[in-house]
Homo-oligomer: 201 residues x 2
DNA sequence: CGCATTATATACCGATAAGTATGAAATCCG
DNA sequence: CGGATTTCATACTTATCGGTATATAATGCG
């Protein structure tokens, strides 16, 4: 990180980090295609030319917002894999998801879920990006569960990849429920139920 | 159903049922907001004025398409509740969902899931409608599971409402996975895993 | 100060969105 | 055949979309 390399010309009057954070909130509530530049610039407190000069265009802005989202909101996913048991991993993932979904004013799905389900028209590269990121985190989860299986934590008949897909589906389904107006209590109950069903070796 | 009440004036040159079915396909692949009138009329084989005369407007068309969707695609949900055991209900629901998701060219989420997650901007009434329909079918599922519990099918510690929410979440999560490019084989595996985890009394 | 440079604000661009006005074409009733 | 009626096809309206041209304001450097 080269701190303030050179500052020639008129200095910019906004903080790109703050602006990006505001953009993330808009994308998270509206989705990529549902977020208009008018709403984005309004929330970011800047004008369109400033946005384009600083972030490129709407698509590049979204990718940067997704970076921020992973860094700020999905960090629990990496640390969840450090749990001592497979069940602990599942519990951390479920509770972490619950936390980010119920953290704001009203529950909403993970931004990745929204982007995967909602982007259709021209936002192919958005969807591709999200799917690739998801695949990468899924891979890490599968590897962790393979270790768990090697350590005898999982029943013989259950594939690590299968249980990873299953857990991911529950987590994504939780996001859909959140989008559909589920209360935090209902989402918490969903976490408990899922944990109650977790297999024992 | 009054069959052909009166036919005065120029007869319409298309079949409303067929046109609606075509519209449903477009809504299903693009979502409500992602489906443009241009694409809809193209797929339906009619012009915009014909669409407006026959169906009202885009929103009314969507509600009618949703009716058709429930009638044609979600009928398995009602019959699933007739299964003799709670586990049988779950299996029918999961396999029925799998079937409609993998029936087309490539897997896609339930239209309800897409609408709940994706509709944000102005489509509030769409979302409200979908949520209400979902609540109604959820209610039926809860009642069925309450019966199962009364018959001793479910473990003591598990609430019928909780397990209904859980099952719905898995089904919706399956839709997200389908949207995210999961293969039919992966989705089938998800069904199997979920059934393997189903609680036994 | 004067100049190069960068960011700002306003106004604009073509494309597309949903929805409609208008007139011609096709039917039934008399 | 001649209205009355309904549908059809084309062209249009207004608003908004993402993106940009242009001109002005604010800085560092010399």
């Amino acid at each position: 990180m080269a701190a303030e390399p050179v500052t020639r010309g008129r200095p910019r009057e906004f903080d790109p980090e703050e602006a990006l954070s505001a953009a993330l909130q808009v994308f998270w509530t509206r989705g990529y295609e549902g977020a208009s530049l008018a709403e984005l610039t309004e929330a970011m407190g800047i004008t369109k030319p400033s946005l384009y000069a600083c972030f490129g265009n709407k698509e590049a802005l979204f990718h940067k917002a997704l970076d921020l989202y992973e860094r700020d909101k999905l960090c629990y996913m990496r640390s969840a894999l450090d749990a001592p048991t497979a069940r602990g991993v599942a519990e951390r993932l479920l509770r972490g998801t619950l936390q980010i979904q119920t953290g704001g004013s009203d529950p909403r799905a993970c931004l990745g879920v929204i982007s995967m389900v909602a982007c259709t028209t021209q936002a192919d590269s958005i969807k591709t990006d999200v799917i690739a990121r998801r695949a990468s985190s899924d891979k890490a989860l599968v590897e962790r569960l393979e270790r768990a299986k090697a350590e005898g934590e999982l029943p013989a008949g259950i594939e690590p990849a299968a249980i990873a897909t299953y857990l991911t589906a529950v987590i994504q389904g939780m996001g859909v429920q959140a989008s559909g107006g589920a209360t935090p209590a209902q989402l918490e109950q969903l976490v408990e139920t899922t944990l109650a069903m977790w297999p024992t070796a």
